[in-house]
């Protein structure tokens, strides 16, 4: 059973189509990065997956229809929405008590263990914590839940780099165990590149690129081309070309590494570079994946 399965998922707000017929299948044990510009429909798609918004089309999350069974789904799924949503009046111990009271899979001792590694005190109110500490608290609450699916929508927005790094480190080291599934959206793509197992680009409500990280690394290469060889490089049909400090960097899809090594320095591109390339070739020429 796939963790998330969507067919023709669609959602419109009036005349504005936020999600335009997405087909999606996320297997168990994956860490999927959903990358897209602002207003691409990421949050709307995630809201549909979490049962926060009604939708058209077929959608099954952990075998359930999220819209009609949100509360049951939340026994096995969990999410952190884009900005700090922990109630500001709440004290840390109240958040622990309440979660333990209503969630059958919440492990209070585990949450306290995570909190012990931070400077957060149990008696503090959420409003007294810094933004980074609130994110730590929320992560501690979420990681103490033995969930099958975790959805993170811009979980590190507005945090400084130390907190961001720590956030993903603890997620990987203390939480992810290959039987869970994580879906994450973020604008800081570079920071999660090593974390992901799969990446998906979404633009204007459609999935425009979809590929596993292994495939990504074997397929895409970036070459800083020596100026005298630029014509030869262009003949190999790069999918994108950009200029950095007067030198051309060409991005290739499915071209042999040895062939490219003769043209200049070869390296694996960042997801961000590929994202720019795919979005600027929006006609669909750069469609990836094995669909």
């Amino acid at each position: 059973m796939a963790c998330i399965e969507a067919r023709g998922l669609r959602k419109a707000f009036g005349t504005m189509i936020a999600v335009d017929g997405i087909n999606l299948r996320v297997e168990e044990g994956r860490i999927l990065g959903l990358i897209g510009p602002n207003g691409a429909g990421k949050t709307t798609a995630l809201n549909a997956i979490l049962g926060l918004t009604p939708y058209q089309g077929e959608l099954k999350v952990l075998g359930r229809d999220p819209w009609t069974g949100r509360d049951q789904l939340m026994r096995d799924a969990c999410f952190i929405a884009d900005v700090a949503v922990l109630p500001r009046w709440m004290r840390v111990w109240q958040a622990l008590d309440y979660s333990a009271g209503v969630h059958p899979r919440f492990d209070r001792a585990k949450a306290e263990g995570f909190l012990a590694k931070t400077t957060i005190r149990l008696a503090s109110k959420v409003r007294e914590l810094s933004k980074g500490m609130v994110a730590q608290l929320h992560l501690a609450l979420v990681m103490a839940i033995d969930a099958k699916l975790l959805v993170l929508d811009e979980p590190t927005l507005g945090l400084d780099i130390l907190y961001r790094k720590q956030f993903y480190d603890s997620l990987l080291n203390d939480y992810f165990d290959r039987s869970r599934t994580i879906v994450v959206t973020t604008h800081q793509v570079e920071e999660i590149q090593d974390v992901l197992t799969d990446v998906m680009f979404i633009n204007r409500g459609r999935i425009v690129f979809d590929c596993s990280m292994e495939e990504f690394e074997s397929r895409y290469l970036e070459v800083m081309v020596n100026p005298e060889q630029i014509a030869a490089a262009r003949a190999l049909k790069p999918i994108h070309e950009r200029q950095v400090f007067g030198r051309s960097i060409l991005l290739f899809d499915r071209v042999e590494r040895q062939q490219l090594a003769a043209l200049g320095d070869v390296r694996t591109p960042s997801i961000a570079d590929l994202f720019v390339a795919v979005l600027s070739n929006q006609s669909g020429a750069a469609q990836g994946g094995t669909r």
Binding site: E27, R30, L73, L86, Y98, G101, D198, D210, E215, G289
Partner: protein
Amino acid sequence: MSTSSNTVPGSPLESQVTAPAVIAASRRMYWSVRRELWEHRSIYIAPLAAAAVSLLAFLTGLTLSPAHRHEPLDIPYEFAAALIMGTGFIVGIFYSLDALYGERRDRSILFWKSLPVSDLTTVLSKFAIPLVILPLLSFAIAVVTQFVMLLSSAVLPGSGLSVGTLGARMSFFHMSLMLLYHILTVHGLWYAPIYGWLLLVSAWAPRAPFIWAFLPPFVIWGVEKIAFRTSHFLGMLQYRLTGPEPSTTTARSGNLMEMMSALTPVQFFSTPGLWVGLAVAAIFLAAAVRLRRYREPI
């Protein structure tokens, strides 16, 4: 599609199958109500403050004018109870208006919805505050206040155990019972549609729930008055606020406590207005539950 192409081998689907941990609905309800008490501390602070004020006033009166000591104690007792219950009612109104609006305004609805608590449980727990928790709390606080009044008037130097206080003591339990009856029937059941309406507005209002709650009745009253020169709607509201008229009883003595309990349970529960009100409350609540499912932070 690539996502499925290389699932980690041996990722143990089977080992994930744990015994379905279940939390009883009553436990979720209990924690939801507790959560409300954490957030809205005025639920118990306001009636306690009212009790403190009435106690202070009573003691001041006792010390300043000892002549009152030998009068029957009913009147300050009733006023203390009325003050505490009135405070509870006002708190209930403001609480209900904020209950489903505040969580959208501060975006915490996204946190609450990330936990396995249904919209029905949430709305019912919020409804239980003005319907059950506030009346019972007000009752408990009022009874304790009255008891302290009784004790202090008995032990204050010079007053002794007068016939008046003795008489009051005799009727103390009777009074408490009447108070409980009044508070559960009128403040709980009879006012249910009022709280239901406020919760509905709170779940729906894009902003300013206070205006949305009070403007429509005002407009309906005005329109009815202009168009039909009648004021049935206003009469209906008055009927709802003042409670079922004890028309069949003789209680017109001006004694607050007697008026409160002028309706016998049989009369009260056979008042059609009660059942109509409860049905309306149920409709409002069902709409509020549905709305909460659709609502996103504002």
